[in-house]
Amino acid sequence: MAEEELTVSSLTGVDMRVRIAGPGTRSYAFLTDWLIRLLLALAWLLAGALLRLLPRVAADASLAHTVMVAAVILALATYFLYQPLLEVAMRGRTPGLRKAGARIATVEGATPGTGALIIRNLFRLIDALPVFYVVGLTCCMLTKQRVRLGDMVAGTVLVLDEADSVQRLGRLSAQLQRTALPAEALQLIHDLLDRWRSLEEARRTRLARELLCKFDPGFDPRRGAALSSRALQGRLEALLGGEPGH
């Protein structure tokens, strides 16, 4: 049974809980990175092939051979070193992980060091066995913290990157200062706006009208019944921005 959260002990004794990324997020990030490194490697090969077409290079067989060898070496280096180098340089993130909204952390919730990141990459040799990361994915599905062998050895775990939520705290505090709404109301309006697209139109408009009736003094329920879903959404956003009744 997998646990979905990693409990991190803070320096002040207050525990934090970080959500663990599952095999789906992991596979999505890997495939994105794989595609990028494949394209970069192919770009080197293409560049090598194009250089060989230059008259000066084409005339010299030894130079043409050297160009192609260099292109192959660069392509292989890009393909194989993309992941470890970027993980180290970007402190546990890669473009694929960013896109998937995940980052690598240690089991203590810290940023992993260079050694740990290199070790987790070395163990891809075993995780990739026999084909298509069968060992890694199986291990990921069976372990409590959804880790592959490389993560287990390096003491790392893939967690969801909640960096956006930090900005959300800033926005929330700004709204709390501007609006006279109670905190519970803010919470309800935020929740509704977050789930706006996933809710059926009839349901979201009904909920929006109920909230506006309760918290927006300028809202007329009879007129409000004629407002479209989009207009109601705008009204709720305006309410969060501290402009009730406008």
Binding site: M16, R17, V166, L169, S173, E184
Partner: protein
């Protein structure tokens, strides 16, 4: 210090009084992970923010459990936690410590295992020799048809490699092959050490078998001459990497810490630097194998001097005698 909310007061009052601070704290939490260098003032400010945020998180959990605000505070805390708890960038002093202390310490921790694996390599080589001597037709299991054909005609494949590729490319190829072998030996050690044993036994069998095969055609001295310069370090590094892999397996079988995973993690962190040393040593032996070994004109004493010299250098480094000790 942050003012603790009055728990008897409604959550709304606490939120409204603290909200102005969160905006600034959120800005700090967002900026901290992006910073590659921090001044002492910045670092202290980040630590203060972290402390205040965790206090507010504890209060929010009490007053508004499962709320948006609590989640946002928690994520801000986790982001700052990761930003504060990160290793410094690799500096010159850190590299020096790695080369002077950590690599020799890691090598010392697997010395006995490496000696046992060297014994396994020798025993497997003898077994390979006996096998090919007794059943010569089995050579097709360890050598390609081209190699067999060449030896049967009286030519060693080792001296023809320079005709196939330039020395630099040859060195790069040899290096990458050897690195894959040591990584395989290390990583497969996690399978209770059996993977590392297999790697060593297989390579020993191949070595002994090829020596026996060349001996049958009177070319064994040529093969020994070829391996003299790069062989000692290459084989020693293979034993070291396999010993590191076996130590990983041992950490799983006989955990020295509270859990097997913890034991494995600590052992891997300790042995990681040794793998770096192995890769660097293989880079050197790859260069020797690409540039020096295939040249028939290089005499045996020169090869012996290079091989023994490089091997001694390796022993001095791994024994902690190559770099001066740090002043205490």
């Amino acid at each position: 210090m942050a003012a603790s909310p009055d728990t008897d007061a409604p959550a709304g009052i606490w939120i409204r009084t603290q909200a102005p601070r969160w905006e600034a704290l959120a800005a700090q939490a967002a900026a901290a992970p992006q910073r590659s260098h921090a001044t002492v003032d910045e670092a202290l400010r980040t630590l203060r923010s972290y402390r205040v945020l965790t206090q507010h998180l504890a209060s929010a959990r009490e007053l508004l459990p499962a709320s948006l605000l609590t989640a946002a505070l928690q994520n801000a805390c986790a982001t700052l936690h990761a930003a504060i708890n990160r290793e410094p960038r690799l500096t010159g002093a850190r590299w020096l410590r790695l080369f002077r202390e950590e690599i020799p310490a890691a090598a010392a921790s697997v010395r006995t295992l490496a000696l046992w694996l060297a014994a396994l390599l020798v025993a497997s080589a003898f077994a390979g020799w006996w096998l090919i001597n007794t059943y010569p037709q089995l050579v097709s299991l360890i050598a390609s048809p081209r190699m067999i054909d060449g030896v049967e005609r009286g030519h060693l494949w080792t001296y023809q490699v320079l005709e196939l590729a330039p020395p630099a490319l040859l060195s790069a190829r040899i290096f990458s092959n050897n690195v894959m072998v040591i990584l395989g030996a290390f990583c497969s050690g996690i399978l209770f050490g059996l993977g590392a044993f297999y790697m060593i036994a297989y390579n020993g069998l191949m070595l002994g078998g090829l020596l026996a095969f060349t001996h049958q055609h009177g070319l064994e001295l040529g093969l020994v001459k070829f391996t003299l310069a790069h062989g000692p370090v290459e084989l020693s590094v293979m034993c070291l990497a396999a010993a590191a892999g076996t130590a990983l397996g041992e950490a799983v079988i006989r955990p020295a810490h509270s859990t097997r995973t913890e034991s494995l993690r600590r052992r891997a962190a300790q042995l990681g630097p040794l793998l770096l040393a192995c890769a660097l040593l293989l880079l050197g032996s790859g260069l020797i194998e690409g540039f020096l070994s295939p040249r028939a004109t290089v005499s045996i004493p020169v090869r012996l001097a290079v091989g023994l010299g490089y091997w001694t250098l390796m022993l001095l480094w791994l024994g902690g005698r190559l770099f001066p000790k740090a002043k205490t």
